[in-house]
C-alpha cells in the first residue's frame, strides 16, 4: 500500500486546485449565469407590452451607458462574462464529473453496486441526481437558442429582423415549444439544486434552519424562472399572443 502524503507546498497548490475550490468556481459562475437569467426573464416579460416595447428594450440594452461605452458595449461585456462563466462552469463540472466517476469504481457488471433495491438513493432529489445531464441539455439548448435568436441562422416559422416576430413565429410551432419547455424544466431543476448548492458551497449553510430557508428560496426561484420564461412561448402557442 502506498502512503500518499503531501508536502506543505504541494498541499497549498493542491488546495487551490481542490474539488472544493473547483466547486466554488462553479458556484460563482453558476450564480453569474443565474443573475443573467433573471435579467433576461425581465426582458422577456416585456413581450407582453408588445412588439415595440420588446424590440425597443433589446435595442436600448445595446446603447446602455452610451457614450461612455460604445454601442453594444454592455452587451459585449456581458457576453464575455457569460462566456467565461460558461467555460469555467463547464470545465469545473466536467472535471468533478470525471473525478466522481473514477472514485465511484464500477465493478465488472458496470455498476457500482449490484443491488437494484436502492436505485434512487436514500434522500437525494431528482434535481441533484440530474445536475450533470441536465447541464448538458442546457448547453445544447443555449446553442440552439442563441443561433435562433441572434443572427437569424435558424429561424423556425420564418425569419424576421424583429426578434419579437422571430419569437412569435417560432413559438407557434409545437416542435419549437416542446424543446423550450423541456429546456426550461431542466433549467428549473438545475437551479433548484444549483442555487442551494452554490450557497452551501460558498459556506452559507451553517445551520439546519438556514438550510431549510435556502431550500425554500431555491424552490421558489426555480419555479419563478421556469414559469416566467414559459409564459412567452405558452402565451404564443396556446393563446395566440403576438399574431
Amino acid at each position: 500500500m502506498v502512503t500518499k502524503t503531501l508536502t506543505p507546498t504541494q498541499r497549498r497548490s493542491a488546495a487551490w486546485r481542490s474539488t472544493v475550490a473547483l466547486k466554488a468556481s462553479m458556484a460563482v459562475s453558476g450564480l453569474i449565469m443565474l443573475v443573467y437569467l433573471l435579467v433576461h426573464m425581465y426582458g422577456n416579460l416585456k413581450f407582453f407590452q408588445g412588439k415595440d416595447a420588446f424590440d425597443g428594450y433589446l435595442h436600448g440594452l445595446r446603447d446602455m451607458f452610451y457614450p461612455y461605452l460604445p454601442h453594444d458595449g454592455v452587451l459585449w461585456i456581458m457576453r464575455v462574462v457569460l462566456l467565461a462563466a460558461v467555460l469555467v462552469h463547464v470545465y469545473a463540472a466536467v472535471t468533478l464529473w470525471r473525478r466522481a466517476r473514477i472514485s465511484t469504481v464500477r465493478t465488472a457488471s458496470g455498476q457500482r453496486y449490484q443491488s437494484t433495491q436502492n436505485r434512487r438513493g436514500v434522500q437525494r432529489s431528482y434535481a441533484s441526481f440530474t445536475m450533470r445531464w441536465g447541464g448538458v441539455v442546457l448547453v445544447l439548448f443555449i446553442i440552439a437558442h442563441v443561433l435562433q435568436m441572434m443572427p437569424n441562422y435558424i429561424s423556425p416559422g420564418g425569419a424576421s429582423d424583429s426578434k419579437y416576430e422571430r419569437a412569435v413565429n417560432g413559438f407557434e410551432l409545437w416542435w419549437v415549444v416542446l424543446p423550450y419547455t423541456i429546456a426550461l424544466l431542466a433549467v428549473g431543476l438545475h437551479l433548484r439544486h444549483g442555487f442551494w448548492s452554490a450557497l452551501a458551497t460558498l459556506g452559507a449553510n451553517t445551520h439546519p434552519a438556514r438550510r431549510r430557508r435556502f431550500n425554500i428560496y431555491a424552490t421558489v426561484l426555480a419555479a419563478l424562472i421556469t414559469v416566467g420564461f414559459l409564459t412567452v412561448p405558452f402565451a404564443v402557442f396556446f393563446f395566440g399572443a403576438g399574431s
Partner: protein, 248 residues
C-alpha cells in the same frame, strides 16, 4: 425467519469478485445483522467453505469498524451501524444484497473488507491540535462557550466508518473530513492551526482520489452519527477563507 443472502465474494484485491447466493434458516429477529452473518459463517466453515470476511470489532456502534452496503444502502435500512442493525428490520423470506463499501480509495481487501487507511492519512494531514504532552495549561484556562463545545462534540462523534463515502454518488469523503475540520475549528484550542488544517486535509482528501462534494446529502442521510451536512459548508468556508488569506 428464512433469509436469502446475495453476498459479494472476492478472494483478494486482484480478484474480480461476484455475488454469491446463500440461504440462512433459523434467523431470529433479535439477532444483529452481523450475528446473522456469524451463523452463516459457522455453516460455511462446517461445510468446509471459506467463511465470509467482514470487518467488525466493538459490535456496539462506536468503533466504526463494521459497515457493508445492504440492499444498496450503506449500513442498511436503519440509520445506524451494521452491527446495531437487527434482523427484525427484515421480513421472513427477504432477499438481502450485501456488498462492500465502494470507492476507488477503499480497495477491497477480501469479500466485504475494505481498506480505509485513506481516512487516517487525511487526519495525518492536519486533523489534530499540536499539543505536546506535558505542556498544557490548566484545563480551565480557556473557557469554551457551551454552544461551541456542544457543536464541536456533535462533529467529533464521527466514528470514521466510511458510510458517507459509500453512499455519496461522487464517492466523496467530504462529510468525514468536514466533521474533523468542524470539531477542531470550533474550539479555541484549534484556532492557530485552523487554516493549515483545512488546506492540508482537503488536499489529502483529493490526493487519495475521493470525489468532490456537490451537496447531494446522501452521506448525512446514512451517517450513523448524524454528522450534519452544514459541517461541509463550514469546511468550504474555512478553505476559501484560508486560500484568500494565503498565509497558511
Amino acid at each position: 425467519m428464512k433469509i436469502t443472502l446475495r453476498v459479494w465474494r472476492q478472494q483478494n484485491a486482484d480478484d474480480k469478485g461476484t455475488m454469491v447466493t446463500y440461504h440462512v434458516d433459523d434467523v431470529s429477529p433479535d439477532m444483529s445483522f452481523l450475528e446473522m452473518l456469524d451463523v452463516l459463517n459457522e455453516q460455511l466453515t462446517l461445510a468446509g467453505d471459506d467463511p465470509i470476511a467482514f470487518d467488525h470489532d466493538c459490535r456496539e456502534g462506536i468503533c466504526g469498524m463494521c459497515g457493508v452496503v445492504i440492499n444498496g444502502i450503506a449500513h442498511g435500512p436503519e440509520n445506524t451501524t451494521t452491527c446495531q442493525l437487527h434482523m427484525r428490520s427484515f421480513n421472513d423470506g427477504d432477499v438481502i444484497d450485501v456488498e462492500p463499501w465502494r470507492a476507488q480509495p477503499f480497495t477491497v481487501v477480501k469479500d466485504l473488507v475494505v481498506d480505509r487507511s485513506a481516512f487516517d492519512r487525511i487526519i495525518q494531514a492536519g486533523g489534530y491540535i499540536s499539543a505536546p504532552t506535558g505542556a498544557a495549561p490548566d484545563a480551565h484556562a480557556v473557557p469554551v462557550p457551551k454552544k461551541s463545545a456542544d457543536h464541536a462534540f456533535d462533529a467529533a462523534t464521527c466514528i470514521g466508518c466510511g458510510a458517507c463515502v459509500a453512499a455519496c454518488p461522487n464517492g466523496s469523503a467530504m462529510l468525514f473530513t468536514a466533521a474533523k475540520v468542524t470539531h477542531l475549528g470550533l474550539l479555541p484550542q484549534g484556532q492557530p492551526e485552523r487554516d493549515s488544517r483545512v488546506v492540508g486535509m482537503v488536499a489529502q482528501h483529493d490526493a487519495e482520489g475521493f470525489g468532490g462534494c456537490t451537496q447531494i446529502g446522501e452521506c448525512t442521510a446514512v451517517c450513523p452519527k448524524g454528522i450534519d451536512i452544514s459541517d461541509i459548508s463550514r469546511l468550504n468556508r474555512d478553505l476559501l477563507g484560508a486560500l484568500a488569506k494565503g498565509d497558511h
